[in-house]
Amino acid sequence: MRLIIGLICIFISLWINATLKSNFRQWALSPLPRPEVARLLSGEFTALGSDYFLMKAAIFYGGEEGLTKAESLWLSKALYLTSYLDPYYFEPYWMAGSILPWEGRIQEAKNILKQGLIYLPQNWQIPFYLGFVSFYFEKNYKEAARYFLRASKLPGAPSYLPLLAARLAVKGNETKMAIIFLQEQLKRFKDIKIRTQLEKRLNTLKIILFLEEAVKKYQQRYRRLPSDLNELVDKKIIPALPLDPYGGRFYLTKEGRVWSTSNLR
């Protein structure tokens, strides 16, 4: 009799557990501890805490299509926490450099990366990321050139870096730079979770580059900028206007650059 009641009780609790729906967003976006508190509570196991929060950030970012403001703030805080708990860990810097600026968290990304400059002074990728953020998002070409030069002097840096630093003076290479940058970042990881997101961005940038080159052709032929991108199709420079994988619409800026209404987010 007692055994039967016991079995019924365990069955009911198992059933309750199975029916309660766990919410992925709720779990992933749960409040983060203050970095100092996390450090004290984890004692000698701070590295494990760092691994845990990075894992959470990676799983969260991999499972999302476009982040809201609150979500990108959460991500930047999680990455800061990760790099605070284990400042010698490269991956949080990589994530901060390759994801945060695109989500509009430029200053947060730079703060995390600057910490990386202190702890991993021999790593060329951290100044490289910082240079890219300055160049592409802040249009601060002087600072960008300084970071690229610094990166180019470190072991393992690609041989094109000094050339890149020199070319920064030439305006209008933003899209090409972004493509080089993303390809460099994709070289490091095989993880499908994050790669799909970066590859989507890379493909969109390649489309933008294709459109910008078409605009240049138009300019050479007619000695002026087209009034909008549809004119490229009308004059048969491109067969059709490509679609933005992010669901936005490509348009021409006043400076002759191509961008999308989706902001690639």
Binding site: R39, G43, D51, M55, F90, E91, R188
Partner: protein, 269 residues
């Protein structure tokens, strides 16, 4: 010396017979083997996560065995009155404690060695089979160094456990005192960094004073913690390593001498 060795032998056998010893060893064994699979959830350099879990698991194993068994075994002798059998023999009380210490140290090293062996094998396996573009460099000899210093840290913890057992008759009280000291000792460096950072500017000087006192008094266990050095292959200089070694040994010896002193004066009922 012969008596000390025989007490150490008995302690080692006694510890091996504790079921909890086996339980913790099996748990950590699973943890170490599973570490690579857990690490697969992360991104990028998953071997770093494997190493973190492995070294932390070893630390946990040593922590549990050194603190729990050091307080438990002495209290058991007092509780079951087997201590009278020992002190009625021509053995000094300090010899009894020293024997306990050596036996427990040997036990801890034995368990840690098994754990380390499993860890290195798993790490090697995941290193060889890792699906990464750039296979990271692993500082094997620094792992061995971290293992040696981990042992040293555990000896210090055994000495802490014995020190508290020398005057407390309850195993639980001695255990929690030791755990408390461990918690403070492993956080001293963390608190120091926080106090010196921007976050520490608003903290009152009174609290800072208390902390400085604690910093001098409690054992700074993070000095013997080389986990980060091994995982990130950080540079090490020999003089700092030697100083850390001397620190660990001197602190352990001091605690043991205090424990001998208190234990000599103690009345058994």
């Amino acid at each position: 010396m012969g008596q000390v060795i025989s007490i150490a032998k008995v302690t080692f056998k006694e510890g091996m017979r504790e079921r909890i010893f086996l339980g913790v060893l099996i748990f950590v064994g699973f943890l170490l083997i599973g570490s690579g699979f857990v690490a697969d959830l992360s991104i990028g350099d998953i071997l770093k996560v494997t190493q973190d879990i492995g070294l932390s698991g070893l630390s946990f194993l040593g922590l549990f065995i050194s603190l729990f068994l050091s307080t438990h075994l002495i209290a058991k002798d007092l509780d079951k009155k087997t201590i009278f059998l020992v002190i009625s023999k021509p053995i000094a009380r300090w010899q009894y404690l020293l024997g306990k210490f050596l036996g427990l140290c040997f036990l801890t090293t034995f368990a840690l060695f098994i754990g380390f062996f499993v860890f290195i094998i798993t790490l090697f396996y995941f290193w060889k089979t890792a699906n990464l573009f750039q296979i990271p460099h692993i500082a094997w000899y620094k792992h061995i160094l971290a293992f040696i210093y981990l042992n040293l840290k555990m000896y210090l913890l055994v000495a802490i456990g014995i020190f508290f057992s020398s005057f407390s008759s309850s195993a639980l009280v001695a255990f929690f005192f030791s755990l408390f000291v461990y918690f403070i000792g492993s956080n001293l460096e963390n608190v120091k960094m926080i106090l010196e950072s921007k976050a520490g500017e608003n903290i009152s000087s009174f609290i800072k004073g208390i902390f400085h006192l604690a910093y001098w008094l409690f054992p700074n266990l993070s000095l013997l913690d080389l986990k980060a050095v091994a995982v990130h292959n950080l540079p090490l200089d020999m003089s700092s390593l030697a100083l850390r070694l001397i620190y660990g040994i001197f602190y352990t010896v001091a605690l043991l001498l205090f424990a001998f002193f208190i234990f000599e004066k103690r009345e058994f009922t």
